[in-house]
């Protein structure tokens, strides 16, 4: 591990001031991903700002503002606490399921909600400094090891010749489906709100940039609007091992029903793109339709028609269709486990 400076801060403004103008400084929260990457020499920060003493762990109902009736999830709350919070279990079971589908119990006990959004891809070419990777070594000519390499786990949507990596988070997939917003602060300027849909970005020509956070910005909270999905939602994660494995495909599905007719549908996919992939085409197709297997299949077909698989991941197209249908079916039955 490279030598680095370690700074402890105790409030938001000293945190944001500490990183202002320092492109090689990073906030340290749970450290479950950042420290791994530092040990592997992938992340090379010159300074870590320890923000764990900031009071940003609270989960509370929102009593005013545009998301009144919704919930605010503190950025520094632990994943485990978010998944087990009664308000989240009651009103956003999809989010609880998604969080519990990720990582392991030990990691969730350390990992924070803000950090979960900022975790980096687990592409093995990104993680191995002996391998070429545009995300790790931008600007040069190293190329993307995975583009023509072992890319079974990689993207089928929105990839570029420079990067075919996928975002690893499960939590973010549920947040994308539930129209979450991310609140951020910086040393200069007022609080900014970024929708989850716009929070992560596609790789295009700059795969080293995962999100639309500006340098120096600190996530303070994630907010979820009130919704009517709690009775009918489901997070399905298909993976090579039952626990502690990243998704081949995951589906966050939520339905608001009027009898057997779909009033609103929310579908987001994980393990398919550089960001949580909101399946807007499938959602639109379902609105006003009867919740039948045939309609679910049609929606899945339409969404997956745009997929562009790589050499080793063509199976994700068929698996994606089946998984969308299955997740919607289970959601419809009112799974709340």
């Amino acid at each position: 591990m490279r030598p680095f400076k370690f700074t402890t801060v105790s409030d938001i403004s000293s945190a944001t001031n500490s990183v202002a103008g320092k492109p090689n400084a990073r906030f340290l929260a749970g450290g479950t991903n950042l420290l791994d990457l530092m040990k592997e020499d992938v992340e090379r920060p010159e300074e870590l700002i320890d923000i764990t003493r900031l009071s940003l762990a609270q989960i509370k109902p929102l009593t005013d503002g545009v998301n009144k009736g919704g919930i605010s999830i503190g950025a520094l709350g632990k994943n485990t606490d978010a998944a087990n919070h009664p308000l989240i279990r009651q009103n956003y079971p999809l989010l609880a399921q998604a969080i519990l589908a990720g990582a392991s119990g030990q990691i969730r006990n350390m990992a924070t909600n803000g950090g979960n959004l900022l975790q980096r891809t687990r592409c093995p070419y990104f993680y191995d400094v002996a391998m070429p990777c545009n995300k790790r070594e931008p600007g040069g000519q190293p190329g993307c090891g995975a583009r023509e390499g072992i890319n079974r786990m990689h993207a089928i949507f929105g990839w570029s010749e420079k990067c075919v990596a996928v975002h690893p988070s499960d939590m973010a997939v549920a947040l994308a489906a539930l129209d979450a917003v991310v609140k951020v602060r910086s040393a200069s300027g007022p609080e900014r709100i970024i929708t989850l849909a716009d929070f992560h970005r596609l790789p295009e020509d700059r795969p080293e940039i995962d999100t639309n956070l500006s340098p120096g910005e600190l996530i303070t909270a994630i907010e979820l609007p009130k919704n009517r999905f709690a009775e009918k939602s489901y997070y399905l994660k298909v993976r090579d091992r039952s626990s502690y494995a990243f998704a081949l495909i995951s589906v966050a599905a939520a339905l608001e029903m009027d009898g057997n007719r779909v009033v609103q549908a929310r579908i987001a996919l994980g393990g398919v793109a550089h960001k949580p992939w909101r399946a807007l085409k499938a959602e639109q197709l379902l609105v006003g339709q009867e919740a039948t297997e045939a309609n679910f299949k049609r929606a899945a077909e339409v969404e997956m028609a745009d997929a562009k698989p790589l050499e080793h991941n063509a199976f994700k197209v068929e698996l994606g269709k089946r998984s969308i249908v299955r997740a919607l079916q289970v959601a419809l039955t009112g799974n709340r486990s």
Binding site: R2, P3, P124, E148, G149, I150, R152, D240, S243, Y244
Partner: protein
């Protein structure tokens, strides 16, 4: 199999269990050696070629760095000294991706790891041979004479004329041992002598290899390895890291600690090789096998050959007049393959026992019945009588215990909601051998309180060796278990076999038992008395007023052992649940029925069998080390990518042991269970997946994409 008033054969908890769960059992890197420095290896980033230049200047100037050792300044070592896999820093030649090319020694681990990244290496690269799918076509006869083509009758002709036959190729990927404790060493020189605290499955083997490679005498090397955090074959042979720690300690004139990282494990300490196995079976319509051909194609290292014996099970499992076992091997730029749990048998049984299931399906015959019809009365490979063989009992008792009658004969007939349910069976076997081992037993008496110390350079992989030897000694001496101390894993103790190839329990327990009998004999002789009832050593210490007594034996296998064919046998039963939409498989129930001679401790034995079963389930469903065929690097370098089964992957596990008394195998009738627990497991799972889905998956692991 408990005898009256005996502790042997009873489910005793590990005597070192409390030490381990409280963190007091010292593993290799836990020794509180003073003034220690830390070494970190750095590795090649190409798979084939030569180091053109290596700039260690910035690393040497980095804070805390004491030495940087590469092929340019490493001492001359004997590369034929018995260290496996090369990478001893003796030349600029690169033979595989991730070969050790040097190490940094520093005051702290962090300083060493940082400085290792500052070393700049330039290579002259040559074309790497790393694409097995392409290279397997060039595979040729191995150098190893034991892997020559073995023919009995004319299998090819019998296959040509067969009424029923199966001909299929089964693929198994590279796997890694990945013991939880990575390979680790502390080296401490005292003058010309070096102590190596090291994790070793063969204590005396590590001693000899280290000595020979360092060009010193074995008596100048002491290996200390009382506890091992898993090995699975990767700590049987010793690898460069052991000797390079000694080299580093000599260079800085201080004790040095070197522990591999998880990422370094993939190309430092061997692997289970990738295999293509073609199995051909011919049978009559009533299920009598007429031919069995098992043809394995695999890879080895560029310079050294290791070929796991995939055809071994096929040699002995079934009565068949025409048999052909062959091996073809191709050198590749990958680290040397090595012994990996159930070497050859776990992979070979996947191919053979899948093919048997395919044949049974073709014949519309129950797969258990097919196996029973081809049960051999003698070892078909050499005509020797079995010391004992329990395949029939394993199958029959297992079928009863598992509820085999509930299996649907045709696939896809058992659907429950979103899942298809299937049952599978497969058999396994592993040779049972006793190897020469010595043991020393010392009795001490204070008043009427007697304690015993049992000592030998045996290895306890974490499987309970300390415990079974305490049980053996307690019974043989007439002492309670808690008055026995067992000391293992030190080359200063009487030499012993390795804990490899399922020889540990039989070799060690027989040696300890013999030593206790001899000690008792000597005390009787010393007393000059005649006894109508043979007294125990404990009684003699009191009656003859002896304060201290010690003896030692050099135990050997029975002289007539090779007149028999001795093996452990099992039958594995799996129930799987396959998600129809997603292809995710879960093993909901698993039963292994094992005939392994005398079971010294049913509790630790059960754990060991279940441990083997879990790895077998991992082999079937999740484990695969993937090589990038362009560059020869592993892309699966962490537990996030290399999927050993998690708790959620494993359903209800049950282990049953067949009672048997096989004294032809060895005096105690102990046959060993370490290897056999994984043999036949993957096939049982794959056969259950076929029974559930109708899909025959011949390429492991059976990941969801293969079942869509």
């Amino acid at each position: 199999m408990q005898e009256k008033n005996k502790v042997t054969g009873t489910p005793v908890s590990r005597i070192d269990g409390i030490l381990k769960v409280t963190g007091k059992a010292a593993y290799a890197t836990d020794y509180p050696v003073k003034n220690i420095a830390y070494a970190v290896l750095f590795k090649s980033t190409i798979a084939a070629g030569t180091i053109r230049s290596i700039d260690t200047g910035p690393a040497e100037k980095s804070p805390g760095v004491l030495a940087v050792i590469t092929h340019k300044n490493a001492p001359k070592l004997n590369v034929e000294g018995g260290i496996r896999g090369g990478a001893l820093l003796q030349s600029p030649k690169i033979e595989f991706h991730g070969q050790h090319i040097g190490l940094v020694v520093a005051e702290t681990y962090e300083q060493a790891r940082y400085a290792a990244r500052l070393v700049k290496v330039e290579y002259d690269q040559s074309k790497a041979r790393v694409d097995f799918e392409k290279l397997s076509k060039e595979a040729a006869l191995p150098k190893d004479k034991e892997k020559a083509d073995a023919k009995r009758g004319d299998a090819r002709a019998a296959l040509q004329n067969a009424e029923f036959k199966v001909e299929a190729v089964y693929g198994t990927p590279i796997e890694h041992h990945h013991p939880l404790e990575p390979h680790s060493t502390i080296a401490e020189w005292q003058g010309d002598n070096v102590v190596l605290y090291n994790s070793s499955q063969i204590v005396n083997g590590a001693q000899n290899a280290a000595a020979a490679t360092l060009n010193i005498k074995p008596e100048n090397v002491r290996i200390v390895s009382p506890y091992i955090g898993g090995g699975f074959g990767s700590k049987g042979g010793q690898w460069a890291n052991l000797v390079l720690t000694a080299v580093a300690a000599k260079a800085v004139n201080r004790p040095v600690k070197l522990a591999l990282t998880r990422q370094q494990m993939v190309n430092s300490v061997g692997l289970r090789q990738q295999n293509h196995q073609k199995v051909s079976l011919a049978a009559t319509k009533d299920g009598k096998l007429t031919a069995l051909a098992h043809e394995t194609t695999t890879h080895c290292a560029i310079e050294n050959e290791f070929v796991e014996p995939c055809g071994d099970c096929s040699k002995i499992m079934y009565e068949v007049p025409n048999s052909l076992i062959t091996y073809r091997v191709v050198p590749m730029n990958l680290i040397l393959p090595t012994y990996t749990r159930g070497p050859g048998k776990s992979t070979g049984s996947f191919a053979l026992e899948s093919a048997m299931d395919e044949l049974a399906h073709q014949l519309k015959m129950d797969p258990i019945e097919l196996r029973l019809k081809n049960e051999p009365t003698r070892d078909p490979s050499n005509g020797k009588p079995w010391s004992s063989r329990t395949t029939v009992q394993c199958l029959q008792e297992g079928a009863k215990a598992f509820g085999w009658e509930k299996r649907k004969a045709e696939p896809r007939q058992n659907q429950q909601g979103n899942f298809l349910i299937g049952y599978g069976v497969a058999c396994g076997t592993y040779p049972a051998h006793q190897r020469p081992s010595s043991a020393r037993v010392t009795l001490n008496r204070k008043g009427n309180a007697i304690t015993a110390r049992v000592e030998l350079a045996a290895a306890d992989l974490g499987t309970g060796t300390h415990t079974i030897l305490a049980q053996t000694a307690a019974d043989a001496l007439g002492l309670p278990l808690n008055q026995i101390t067992v000391k293992l894993g030190d080359s200063d103790l009487p030499p012993a076999a390795g804990s490899v190839g399922s020889v540990g329990a039989s070799s060690y327990a027989n040696a300890v038992h013999d030593a206790c009998v001899k000690l008792t004999d000597e005390l009787i002789a010393k007393s000059g008395k005649q006894f109508f009832v043979r007294p125990t050593a404990a009684q003699l210490m009191v009656s003859e007023n002896v304060a201290d007594y010690q003896t030692r034996v050099d135990a050997k296998p029975p002289a007539n052992a090779d007149q028999y064919s001795s093996h452990s046998f099992n039958a594995n039963f799996a129930e799987v649940r396959v998600d129809i939409a997603t292809g995710m498989v879960r093993v909901t129930r698993f039963l292994a029925v094992t005939g392994a001679g005398k079971i010294l401790n049913p509790k630790t034995a059960r754990s060991q069998i279940i441990g083997g079963n879990v790895w077998g389930i991992g082999m079937a469903l999740t484990e695969e080390s993937v090589v990038d065929p362009r560059w020869g690097n592993f892309v699966t370098r962490s537990f996030g990518d290399y999927h050993v089964p998690a708790n959620l992957d494993i359903g209800a596990m049950e282990a049953i042991f067949i009672r048997e008394d096989d004294r032809a195998s060895n005096a105690l009738g102990v046959k060993g269970i370490g290897e056999v627990g994984i043999v036949g497991v993957a096939a049982a799972v794959a056969n259950a997946v076929f029974n559930a889905t109708g899909k025959r998956i011949r390429e492991l692991p059976i990941t969801p994409d293969k079942l869509l």
